[in-house]
Symmetry: C2
DNA sequence: CGTTAGCACTCTCGACATGAGAGTGCTAAC
DNA sequence: GTTAGCACTCTCATGTCGAGAGTGCTAACG
């Protein structure tokens, strides 16, 4: 078999770029005329045949131009597109917006998802970081009326949980505060697992509160982080979905059902840095026409989330990878800076 | 002009129901055979002509059946569909789910949106209630590290706001608690407007905190409530959008940009009870092929939200109105019960 | 042996024609 | 007022055709 020579690689790169831009199969004439390759269309056809034999290109039908195959995109991402980086001014603009926003993990996730979606015109998913092991920082009891109190729990990473607690006998706020103080002695700085091992308290009400507390914490760690999704409209605007109503519906259903872990399976977040899943490489069947660019951020062991970009396989990988990389890095930096 | 006789009204009702079910123009034969109307197809055609002259029916083209016009749907909703109500067991199932859920306004909104979307297979919007005038119930300061504290504010309706506050000098948690206690004396039970009129405090740090507090409150009352949206996929699955890619895109863009106030404009929530906006009656151009069924809940003056259903004009109005009415009533009841 | 011009071939796509089917409007009779 | 009969109109699926695009092959060239 003919190897992938430099010229062939160059042609592959051109085909990927041209196809990404126009969404139409690329012919030998276009490559010759528009990109000034120093070879006649006939020669280029020869080379394209070779690339097709290598499984890097495909032909929708006999007399159409060529389209990159999944393997073609893979090769492009791996060795042809180069180390893309965002232009400095764009980085600065993004950075600026993060420093303007409220210093909240969830706000940042919103912001990142919005920016990513708008920057590429595609679907963006950003998971706010969740810590595996919840640790109580502080707890408060506020009486709302005679029979109802609000239990407010502050976690180490400045997240706040709350839960209404019915009271079986009327409490004054002062009593509640005393109770809260006693509880804080007991629980502050402790993790869920530690609390679960504790002996029960003497006071009945105190014990009830502790149970409510561990209940909230358990529920919270069981619940998946609410992944921010942006850019559905942009995604549907892609030419591949103009015709393929069915495929489009499947993808929208996926995000509609919050099945984000089928889009970005936890396993795919193993390594650090940006990873790309192209077409059939995606575990979810619905995404076999799509690519996913994803990067984890935060510290792997404890607080971690991810930034992901979903688009048709015909996507701007260079810009996508660059943006995802920059945003994940920035989120990590923001986290360190404020919560470190 | 010929009046709308009982028989004509009956035929209109049949056409609406049949069209809603099949999404295909309804012909005189179908009305005769399937619904056993005691009149020949020719007579029915006569009546249909009259209904068309009244502007209640439309013909997609000369030799198709009839389709209800916006005015036709309006008449159906107003006087032909009857007072639809949900079957008792369905009500019970819904009710049960609400009592199982955590007693949180936001949770309820999520639940209601999910139920509504799934029940009709359409788009559901539920706005969690927001009070116009925020009132502080309690406030807490928790030191995260030497230079950063978390200000936690509990509002009357058991909502919790938080904000990170940088400290210019290191504080012990004990000092923060004292400060918080002093602040609570000052602010608890007060509304934003009241606080805004207060003279400034002597202590610098105290004053800084009060400013931060009013800042949070202002920002919060300016921010629109995060409306829960469910059922985008179901909506896109509707036959009207199989072809009309453009119209579909416009609608998805609307919710994608969180422009929910264009879908459910505040004015439309004026009256109590369920209201229906059909086709061109919708203020947003994108929704001229759609109908919106909406009901406010909560007490109009203070805490109020809404439940809305969006679908093609060809939607199941009876069921839609019944479900929206039941859910809005239930949400109001839940609110009263827990926060009353 | 790589490169190239020439050319026949294949396939898509839009335009156009055709026929079946559906449903109507009209008319005349009841 | 109601109905049967019938010609008419319009859609839709199907088929045909030609233009256009792009290929693969072959033979000639340096």
């Amino acid at each position: 078999m003919a190897a992938v020579t430099d010229r062939r690689a160059g042609i592959l790169r051109i085909i990927v770029r041209e196809y990404v831009e126009t969404a139409a199969p690329v012919g030998s004439r276009t490559i010759h005329d528009k990109y000034g390759v120093p070879a006649s269309p006939a020669t280029i056809r020869h080379e394209m045949q070779a690339l097709e034999e290598e499984g890097l290109l495909e032909q929708p039908h006999t007399s159409a131009g060529r389209v990159p195959s999944d393997r073609g995109y893979r090769m492009y991402v791996e060795s042809l597109m180069g180390q893309a980086d965002l232009p400095g001014d764009e980085k600065a603009t993004i950075r600026h917006q993060f420093f303007q926003a409220a210093p909240e993990l969830d706000e940042w996730a919103d912001l990142a998802a919005g920016l990513l979606a708008r920057s590429l015109g595609l679907l963006a998913l950003v998971s706010p970081p969740r810590s595996r092991e919840l640790q109580v920082k502080h707890l408060e009891l506020i009486g709302l009326n005679e029979i109802l109190a609000l239990l407010v729990v502050v976690l180490r990473e400045a997240r706040v949980l709350k839960q209404l607690v019915p009271l079986d006998s009327p409490f004054e706020q002062a009593e509640l505060s005393v109770l809260a103080a006693r509880l804080n002695e007991r629980v502050s700085g402790r993790t869920v697992t530690e609390l679960r091992r504790d002996p029960s308290a003497d006071d009945v009400t105190e014990q009830r509160m502790i149970e409510t507390l561990t209940g909230i914490l358990n529920e919270e760690s069981a619940r998946e982080a609410a992944v921010r999704v942006e850019g559905v409209a942009g995604m549907l605007g892609q030419p591949e979905f103009q015709r393929d109503h069915r495929g489009m519906l499947d993808i929208v259903s996926l995000v509609d059902q919050r099945a984000t872990d089928r889009v970005v399976p936890p396993e795919s977040l193993g390594g650090a840095g940006v990873s790309v899943m192209i077409g059939d490489e995606n575990p979810a069947d619905e995404l076999h026409q799509c690519s996913v660019v994803v990067a984890p951020y935060g510290d792997q062991a404890d607080m971690s989330g991810y930034v992901a970009l979903v688009g048709p396989t015909r996507m701007r990988y260079g810009r996508g990878v660059a943006t995802v990389r920059y945003l994940s890095g920035l989120l990590e930096e923001m986290m360190d800076r404020v919560y470190g």
